[in-house]
């Protein structure tokens, strides 16, 4: 343990003495800062203290040196660990506090105390040196904690817990706290509870005019109505699909599978776009109905109904996926028991199957509810006069009059709604589950549907499936048409404009307008995906395999970011990371960070599922054979988790490409993303190019998924044959 502590003390000292403490203008990796280390901007903390009078930075140095002295001087290992932990914790706290107190404009607090010092000139955001120093201090702290006998004395485990808690703290909780702060803040920077209450309960947000027939509703009520309608609709349709999929002899089941995968690779606003091509003023269906039935062309799509249809199309497949599991989870023996007790199929369905599925249906409803509230792309494209919270937040930040306080208040309202649903799902549905999957082999056969139920399902689901197919075909079709609604002649113009290449002077030039954002997106997604998988699977490992105090709180906090809508994350990142000490807006880092922490819960869930299937004695065997935890993870767990890793990688890659809600607040001209680029085209009415670009994105993601599926398929086969063979004899758990 001593050796590890010294390694991290050395790391911390290196960060303090050698690397620029603050963010350098030219970035870190170009190493321009090596040119003049004495500059106020480039200097490492040691020189900052010595040359620029920034004495408050010395706290970290004092802590590191004190930790080293304690390690050398104190003989009792447990006592040394305890002192070291205290010193490192103090050093961490001090370093973070100074960053929060002394900002760019000078000290935020203690003005009198810090008068006439270099603090008055302020400081810029943490840079590489600060990051390395803080990391060193953090790991000195966690290693010392393991030395106190926590985490079974395993420095790797305590280190990972410390790291993930810190990351979640900085990138999930810290920004959310910023939202709260700015909602409470008056224009002069004071805090006012009454002001917050008046802002929160503003009738402009909660207006119910539309319900009592006097004008429109506030965005909160609109969002709620939409979310309830979408939750109920997707659950019913999803149930119909799930029943067809699991309980009938329906021929085209593989097509239903495809239907369930498609939305994952569809950027969120694409459905809205396709709907515009169909039902907009110049849409195909609109023209058709107008020609045949003489129905007046109108802008009805840009209202509640448009968004509702788009959300139903987007989220029904998700409900379908959830409900397949629910329907399959009903134990066949219960249904068989009901039948042997002389109930017919209808009675069995209504009195046994349906009640057993109730918690699952509630879960699907809440999921649809949360997805609808968080949805940003569809309302942005189709919103018109129907204001919902997610888009209102956006317009409060980027609109004609930027109003961060209003954005923060709306964000809190939205957060309260999604968190409420999220908590309801965990507390209520989680505990009330009639888990009929017992782990005992259940050899019964599911009861078929009664004729009535079957036809209701077919009538509901099949037209909808056909409609979905039409909507998606619009995406392909629309991209090859010159000007939708006016000139339907075939053209490749949109693709050439977006993805054209030229050879000039023998060099290939990517002259299309979309290349820039396309490459940026791929680059950022490929950096974010492995990080997401790593953080997600590490968290899953800690949750499944390690016991520590506060584990359930730890789990909750890692799942929390799932319930925070992208727009809320976006606003909170703008509010939190636009200023020192952590100044990330405008960089590519913030885009990567936002992807990692938005998509992490999926990696965690996947990792937990995969890891639960690995017998715990495998790691314990490795440990008792003298391997440390890190070696165990590297040589035993990681190889056996291959498929889960690939799945997490693919998923986070795809999510990073399709995401728009958080990104739209954070992208810059330098780091434009595909989705934000497309949204920009849509806002300019350039539907052709937007659709063509969307089609290319979908094809790109399909290619990535298929490639990984092929790889994954092969690997899984090999692994399963092996595991199954040992499993029969070796895995009596």
């Amino acid at each position: 343990m001593k050796r590890i502590v010294f390694q991290w003390i050395a790391t911390g000292l290196a960060g303090f003495c050698l690397i620029p403490w603050y963010m350098t203008d030219s970035g870190f990796w170009r190493f321009r800062w090596l040119g003049d280390l004495t500059l106020s901007e480039n200097a490492p903390a040691l020189l900052q203290v010595l040359l620029h009078g920034r004495f408050w930075l010395a706290g970290a140095l004092i802590a590191l040196v004190a930790a080293a002295i304690v390690q050398i001087a104190v003989k009792s290992p447990v006592r040394a660990a305890r002192f070291t932990a205290a010193i490192a914790a103090a050093g961490l706290a001090w370093t973070m506090l100074q960053g929060l107190i002394i900002v760019r404009s000078g000290p935020r607090l203690f003005h009198d105390l810090l008068a006439n010092t270099p603090a008055e000139t302020g400081q810029i955001g943490f840079g590489a040196g600060a990051a390395v120093t803080l990391l060193g201090l953090l790991f000195v702290l966690t290693t010392a904690i393991s030395g106190m006998g926590r985490g079974r004395g395993d420095a790797f485990v305590t280190g990972m817990i410390g790291l993930i808690v810190s990351l979640v703290g900085i990138f999930v909780f810290y920004p959310v706290v910023h939202i709260l702060i700015s909602a409470f803040q008056t224009r002069t920077g004071l805090f006012d509870l009454a002001l917050f209450i008046s802002r929160f309960f503003d009738p402009e947000i909660w207006g119910i005019g539309c319900l009592i027939g006097q004008g429109g509703c506030g965005p909160a009520i609109n969002s709620l109505i939409l979310a309830i309608a979408t939750g109920a609709g997707t659950t019913l349709l999803g149930l119909a699909f799930a029943l067809i999929f699991t309980r009938t002899q329906f021929i085209a089941k593989p097509l239903l599978r495809v239907l369930s995968v498609i939305p994952i690779i569809t950027p969120p606003f694409v459905i809205g776009l396709a709907l515009i091509l169909l039902f907009g003023r110049t849409g195909a269906a609109t023209e058709l109905f107008s020609d045949i039935f003489g129905i007046e062309k109108s802008r009805w799509l840009y209202s509640f109904w448009g968004i509702y249809i788009a959300q139903m199309l987007s989220f029904t497949p998700i409900a379908f996926l959830v409900l397949i599991g629910v329907v399959e989870g009903v134990s066949p023996s219960m249904e068989e028991a009901s039948q042997t007790l002389n109930a017919n199929r209808w009675q069995t369905f209504v009195r046994v199957t349906l009640p057993l599925m109730r918690p699952g249906l509630a879960a699907a409803f809440l999921l649809g509810f949360i997805e609808s509230l968080a949805d940003f792309g569809n309302p942005l494209v189709l919103g018109g006069n129907f204001n919902v919270l997610s888009t209102e937040i956006y317009f409060s930040i980027v609109g004609a009059v930027a109003n961060p306080a209003r954005a923060a208040t709306l964000a809190i309202v939205l957060l309260a709604l999604t968190l409420g649903a999220f908590l309801a799902q965990r507390r209520w549905v989680g505990t009330k589950s009639y888990a009929t999957v017992t782990g005992k082999a259940d050899s019964g056969v599911h009861v078929g549907l009664s004729a009535g139920v079957k036809w209701v399902c077919y009538l509901a689901a099949l037209p909808w499936a056909a409609f979905t197919a039409i909507v998606y075909s619009m995406i392909i079709f629309g991209s090859f048409v010159k000007l939708w609604g006016y000139d339907h002649s075939f053209t490749l113009e949109h693709y050439i404009r977006a993805f054209g290449t030229k050879i000039r002077d023998g060099v290939l030039k990517f002259s299309g307008v979309a290349w820039d954002s396309y490459f940026t997106t791929l680059k950022i997604a490929s950096i974010a995906a492995p990080l997401t998988a790593l953080v997600g699977l590490t968290t899953a490992y800690l949750l499944v395999r390690q016991n520590f105090r506060g584990k359930s709180a730890f789990e909750f906090s890692t799942m929390l970011s799932f319930a925070i809508p992208g727009t809320v994350i976006g606003v909170s990142y703008v509010l939190a990371f636009n200023f020192p000490p952590i100044e990330l807006t405008g960089t590519a880092i913030i885009l990567i960070v936002v992807f990692v922490f938005r998509n992490m819960p999926v990696g965690v869930r996947g990792g937990i599922a995969a890891m639960s299937q690995l017998d715990r004695s495998l790691d314990e065997a490795s440990i008792t054979l003298g391997a440390n935890t890190f070696t165990t993870v590297r040589r035993v767990i990681a190889p056996l988790l291959g498929p889960a890793m690939v799945a997490a990688l693919t998923y986070s890659f795809v999510r990073a490409i399709t995401s728009v809600s958080a990104v739209i607040f954070l992208y810059t001209a330098k780091h434009n993303m595909a989705t934000t680029f497309i949204v920009g085209r849509v806002e300019n009415g350039d539907y052709g190019l937007a659709i063509a670009y969307s089609a290319v994105l979908i094809v790109t993601m399909l290619a990535v998924i298929l490639a990984t599926q092929l790889m994954l398929g092969r690997r899984r086969l090999r692994r399963e044959t092996r595991i199954e063979a040992t499993g029969t004899t070796g895995a009596r758990v």
């Binding site: 314990e620 040992t726 070796g730």
Partner: protein, 360 residues
């Protein structure tokens, strides 16, 4: 012989293990001598596996200290303890070959690959699996996998070998052979071994000493012979071998004898006992006989069931002593259900234990 400092010794002093509110081990002290094979025996949930995991370092003691080879390892993580464990599920790494599995512990502690594989081959030879190194664990039978797990544990030359129900996944015929092999290897290497099982016959067969556990504490420790012949409680009497427990009353206590009243008769037993008052008589099924004649220390009863098993006949009888289980040698004309008999107990073979409930 039992010193707590030699290489391979294991000592617990006042070890307590709690999971939240649940106490898995109550203030437990024990000492295992180098080279000894000790079995931890008990019903499920008695704390025997917890003890094993505490020795391995897979769990940390809540209180107390643990010494291995005289060194305090209470806070030492499992990685650094010179202890190897054979898991109930064997826990062979499915993605590594047999040789890689056996060599794993050697390579992770820094031995070169070639050297580790040579030692692994030696280990496989010792368990009779020479030449199987290139196979995957899934290509071996259950018994072979079990031996790979043993080989993987012993090539590390641990101070203490831990076996967690090593036979529970083998079929009945294989068990006897494998347990003899394990005992042989243990004796050959002189390895201190701690063996967890819930099967008392297995424990009797392999152990130098058995520690019977019950409700998170040690109920009794001793040689197999001690436990069978001198149980200190009704629980032990019932758990080690079959026993009929009959309520009685101790009338007089002497140094070597005592008088008890059972079902109206007074009998003198050649055993000492602590206190007068209610107690329980332990009657092994083999030590009871059935006759048609009444007499002293004989009690009338009727046969409820008679089961012919070839080598023996088992009777369940009901009478003044309550329900009894009797094993009799086969005779040409056995008793049949409904027959009235007298059950004779031999006072020199009866044992006395305190009157306390045996169910946990």
């Amino acid at each position: 012989m039992r010193d707590g400092t030699g290489k391979g010794s294991v000592v617990f002093t006042d070890v307590v293990k709690r999971y939240g509110d649940v106490t898995a081990l109550k203030k437990l002290s024990l000492s295992i001598a180098p080279g000894e094979l000790v079995t931890l025996l008990g019903p499920s949930g008695c704390g025997k596996t917890t003890m094993l995991r505490l020795i391995a370092g897979l769990e940390a003691a809540t209180e107390g200290r643990i010494f291995i080879g005289g060194e305090d390892v209470t806070h030492l993580s499992a990685t650094y303890r010179r202890v190897s464990m054979v898991f109930q599920s064997y826990a062979l790494f499915p993605h590594m070959s047999v040789a890689e599995n056996v060599a794993y512990g050697l390579t992770v502690s820094g031995m070169s690959r070639a050297e580790a594989h040579a030692k692994a081959e030696d280990g496989l030879k010792m368990v009779g699996l020479a030449g199987f190194g290139a196979r995957l664990p899934s290509e071996l039978s259950g018994g072979q996998q079990q031996r790979v797990a043993v080989a993987r544990a012993i090539v590390l030359e641990p101070e203490v070998l831990l076996l967690d129900e090593p036979l529970s996944n083998l079929d009945a015929k294989l068990r006897r052979r494998v347990r003899e092999e394990i005992r042989q290897i243990q004796q050959d290497l002189g390895l201190t071994t701690v063996y967890v099982t819930h099967d008392q016959e297995e424990a009797m067969a392999v152990s130098d000493r058995i520690i019977v556990m019950r409700n998170a504490e040690i109920a009794q420790a001793g040689s197999p012979h001690d436990l069978y012949q001198r149980p200190n409680s009704a629980f032990i009497a019932d758990f080690i071998g079959d026993a009929n427990l009959v309520n009685c009353e101790v009338l007089e206590v002497g140094v070597q004898t005592c008088r008890v009243r059972v079902a109206g008769q007074e009998i003198t037993l050649p055993v000492g006992f602590a206190a007068q008052g209610p107690a329980r008589l332990v009657l092994r099924p083999h030590d009871l006989s059935l006759t048609t004649e009444p007499g002293p220390a004989r009690f009338p009863a009727s046969i409820s069931y008679a089961t012919y098993l070839g080598s023996q006949i088992q009777y369940t009888i009901h009478g003044k002593l309550g329900n009894l289980f009797v094993i009799a040698p086969p005779v040409h004309t056995p008793f049949r259900a409904g027959d009235t008999v007298h059950v004779a107990l031999s006072p020199e073979k009866a044992m006395l234990v305190a009157d306390e409930p045996i169910d946990t």
